[in-house]
């Protein structure tokens, strides 16, 4: 007996609705001028709030700050963490498991408490209220994605692939660049996207280390939500969402379901 596909379609449909619905609502709000009950769609459309928001320097500066902060700290985290992940995956050294576990343990500590203690140190170093101070703190929030996913990905690459290249005369560096990195690319791309998004939305560290001189988009969103105008918040949400979407598109080429699953050690 053939099973009817209706049940599956229903589940798929409701999942899609649950995921896309809220995003669609936010996007609609960003372009709505008037939208009142019981209308299903806005009754008056326009870019009015966009011009209003983008016209304000207090909005533009955090947008640019956030983009710069996120790009720099994600990339720096990748440069530091990916080779470390390779070491975790391939080398055996004492305390390896303990160190790997400590990255998770650090996640279990309330972030805010952690940042307070970091802030004390940073205050002495003059990194509070400083752009680079925020870069460093936000890098920390990416460490989990940048270590665990790539470690699992590197571990998932059969050593024979690297050995075959080494055996044919390639140097260790060449093996890493031409064999290991391309093999791990889907998972590395996934870890980059996840880290990018988590840093872009990061609030605690930015607030404690950055305030009051460095303002990021999520901080702006928080401060605006006091004087709530739905459309303004929606415009900001879309503004934050766009860079994430772009990064996702850029890395989509390298991401396959298999590669990502491998990255998560599935």
């Amino acid at each position: 007996m053939k099973r009817s596909p209706i049940g599956g379609l229903l589940i798929l449909g409701s999942m899609a609705l649950a995921m896309i619905g809220p995003i669609a609502t936010v996007i609609l709000w960003a372009f709505a001028i008037k939208w009142r009950y019981p209308h299903l769609l806005p009754t008056e459309w326009g870019m009015k709030y966009w011009f209003a928001m983008l016209g304000r320097e207090t909005v533009i500066t955090p947008v640019l700050t956030s983009l710069a902060l996120t790009s720099i700290s994600t990339t720096a985290a990748a440069v530091i963490c990916w080779p470390a992940a390779y070491a975790f995956a391939r080398l055996k050294f004492p305390g390896r498991q303990v160190m790997l576990f400590s990255f998770i343990a650090a996640q279990a500590v309330p972030k805010f408490a952690l940042y307070v203690s970091i802030a004390v140190v940073f205050l002495r170093l003059g990194l509070v209220g400083n752009f680079w101070g925020v870069v460093v703190v936000q890098m920390l929030s990416a460490v989990l994605f940048m270590i665990w996913i790539p470690t699992a990905a590197f571990r998932g690459i059969p050593p024979a692939l690297e050995e075959a290249a080494f055996d044919l005369g390639a140097s260790r560096l060449r093996v890493f660049v031409q064999i290991t990195l391309p093999q791990a690319l889907p998972a590395l791309a996934a870890s980059y996207v996840l880290a990018f998004v988590s840093i872009l939305f990061e609030v605690d560290g930015a607030l404690l280390i950055g305030a009051p001189t460095v303002t990021t988009m999520p901080l702006l969103l928080m401060s605006l939500s006091a004087q709530i105008i739905v459309q303004e918040a929606a415009v900001l949400c879309v503004l934050i969402w766009v860079p994430c979407f772009i990064v996702l598109l850029l890395t989509r080429r390298f991401m396959t379901a298999k590669g990502i699953a491998q990255g998560f050690g599935v």
């Binding site: 024979a160 692939l161 044919l168 060449r174 031409q178």
Partner: protein, 353 residues
Amino acid sequence: MLDIDTITKTFAGAPAVREATFTVQRGELVCLLGPSGCGKSTLLRVISGLTDADSGQIRIEGADVTAMQANRRPTAMVFQSHALWSHMTVAQNVGFGLRVRGMPRAQIAAKIADVLDLVGLSSFGKRLPAELSGGQAQRVALARCLVVEPKILLMDEPFSALDAHLRKALREELKALQRRSGLTTIFVTHDQEEAMELADRIVVMQAGRVEQFGPPGRLYRQPQTLAVAQFIGVMNTCTTAIQDGMARWYGVDVRAAMPPGEAVVLCRPEDLYLDPNGAAATVTRVIDLGPVTKVNLITPEGDLLTWTCARDLAPVQGALVRLMARHLHVFRGGNLVGRIEQPDLVFQEGAMT
């Protein structure tokens, strides 16, 4: 050509290879044969340089390469898992070793075409490894090694993941190719039929030790250790005591001009023949294998025997037969101490029925 000189390798205290020593001639195909965990793959990796030996020396054409890294050694290895790089096409996989050597592009392309032609995959250059069958993938892996013209080709159970028919076909192809090119080859396998068919000489390994090194036929007919005798082919094993130049073999006395003491006496199933004065045994099963018939028997003492004979000689199940052996191999402490050819049967009272 290749000297393996007292190579020892230990993993976390457990010896994997113990004082392996043998010499491979130029153009020879040598199989490392043994059960899994006997150290044959480890020894191959030591030859390739992917694993460092604890002690001993590897010489290629007289030059000591023991301290040389794998990427500097004139060897190339085909892995069991074929280990093709999935992000490169077949041509890119094959050309990798040449690009590493900095060969000009045009020359690389010509070499790739040649070697793909050699392994019968000339139209496959643009494919990805995922689009190949198991046999094709292993041929590409072979081509990838051949193209860099190694002095020694190393193969680590390259066909063991393939089905039986393909394995046989590839084995014959490899043998023909190896004969033509005269490439010195070391081939690791646990499959004795594969080793017997491919090898000029076989190194039999057991628990990290080289048990015997010789041509396939000699290993079968003249095993030097108990391990080789029991690993290659089938042997009927009889543990006995030698006394006054006599050994008791399945209830009959045979002349054994050897010092007294415990001994293990072995005979091949095909070396048994019907003899009215032989050892008595009851037929438990008759298996018609086609070319030969295999007969399983049990002696009154409960020892199991296997006899292979022509179909017209085969008894029926339940029959009582008397068997004698043409050759007996006698081992003591794991080593060969003598062979009894056409053993003289010592007539025993009541042996005739």
